[in-house]
Symmetry: C2
Subunit: 257 residues, 2 copies
Amino acid sequence: MFTLGVDIGSTTSKAVILKDGQEIIATSLIAAGTGTDGPDRAMEAVLAAGSLKVEEITSVYATGYGRKLLKNADGEMSELSCHARGVHHLLPEVRTIIDIGGQDAKILSLGADGRLAEFLMNDKCAAGTGRFLDVMAGILQLRIEDLEKQAAISKSTVKISSTCTVFAESEVISQLANGVEIPDLVAGICQSVASRVASLAKRIGVKETVCMSGGVAKNGGVRKAMEQELGLEITYTPMAQLMGALGAALYAYDKSL
Amino acid sequence: MFTLGVDIGSTTSKAVILKDGQEIIATSLIAAGTGTDGPDRAMEAVLAAGSLKVEEITSVYATGYGRKLLKNADGEMSELSCHARGVHHLLPEVRTIIDIGGQDAKILSLGADGRLAEFLMNDKCAAGTGRFLDVMAGILQLRIEDLEKQAAISKSTVKISSTCTVFAESEVISQLANGVEIPDLVAGICQSVASRVASLAKRIGVKETVCMSGGVAKNGGVRKAMEQELGLEITYTPMAQLMGALGAALYAYDKSL
Ligand code: SF4
């Protein structure tokens, strides 16, 4: 039996096809989110990748910000539940998920059964989110994907004392003017994001194993800084972005039994 | 007897000469703060304005961020105490001072004797400070001193839903792109600052009479929005910036008795 999960975000659409609630057959990721043809394209792409026709799919579940807008879905499930479920499927030992997105940061605490037990989010303050990195990359005239490389060659992390994105911006500009090396500034910028999100995580209590997901988790500089902040190792899967869609495919499977 | 108070801020230096602990004889304000010749120039200027020689001053007290660096001061006192004291001298009915500066916002609660009873500050988040206005004026390509005029001609205040300066910036940019009128956006921006600071003030409890001070209080748009937020009238004195220096001159007087 094949089930399909679609995760419709604000800027991306992702899909996963699962065989018998176990094996990932195909995935897709389209850089267009809700309100565009992204969700349809993600579904077409995942079917093509799996060499399957839509008639061969037993059930389709939608998740994500735009999940209510998907026609022909057999059901829908919240992002958080799908995210937790997807991570638990691939990494059953995970108890804490630190998800840093472009505009928010979420901490998910999972029970031993993989269900979401507790949850904290910051979506009010740009500090500790991808937006902080965007602003800083802009000042340093770096691309967001270059931050990791820069942080890796830093010899000494510059401490950024302001948490606030706006005040940190001024700090970084004045450090630059003082001739501070860019890699050291980038390491400080990664540290700032990690430290902000780590304090959110500590409010829930960090149970091991910890896994990072979300767009910002791709940045190894932030992952390393987070390991330092929390004093533990962090698991990362490059499948991170697909966890919501995977969880939706798992829920679709449950409901098809 | 003449006493002199100097308030040495990060970007301005202010001085006041007081006669017999009562009457303001002269004031000065120089747009150069600590670490520059601003404090010396403010003292020279206030002496010149009062047609006094330094030998005629019984006591000089310093306050403000750079107060420890003033040579030849007879004493120093914290900004907060001086600010409360100065306001109480001119406006004895004031019980709450809302001070919005370029990078912070402070709420001072005064006892009936004019002494500082309680105090709350935000210096961590750019929202609800002058910095928020700077960022927004930059986007709208307005000068900071034009915001008041723009807010005054607004027909309908645009609600800015994000508190965060960074997220509000994106909101304002997209409103602009949608053709929203600049005066209505400016009114929304003033409202945002007022609403943020009002929630800080409410944490202390707002006792009347309320007075506003600080650089941002010059902006009538923010004052009007604050009156709406708190549902009461707000006193404002154009002397607001000199309150710290006045308080220092009052403390200098006390110690000379
Ligand atoms: S601290 Fe800075 S980044 Fe955070 S909400 Fe305030 S303005 Fe935004």
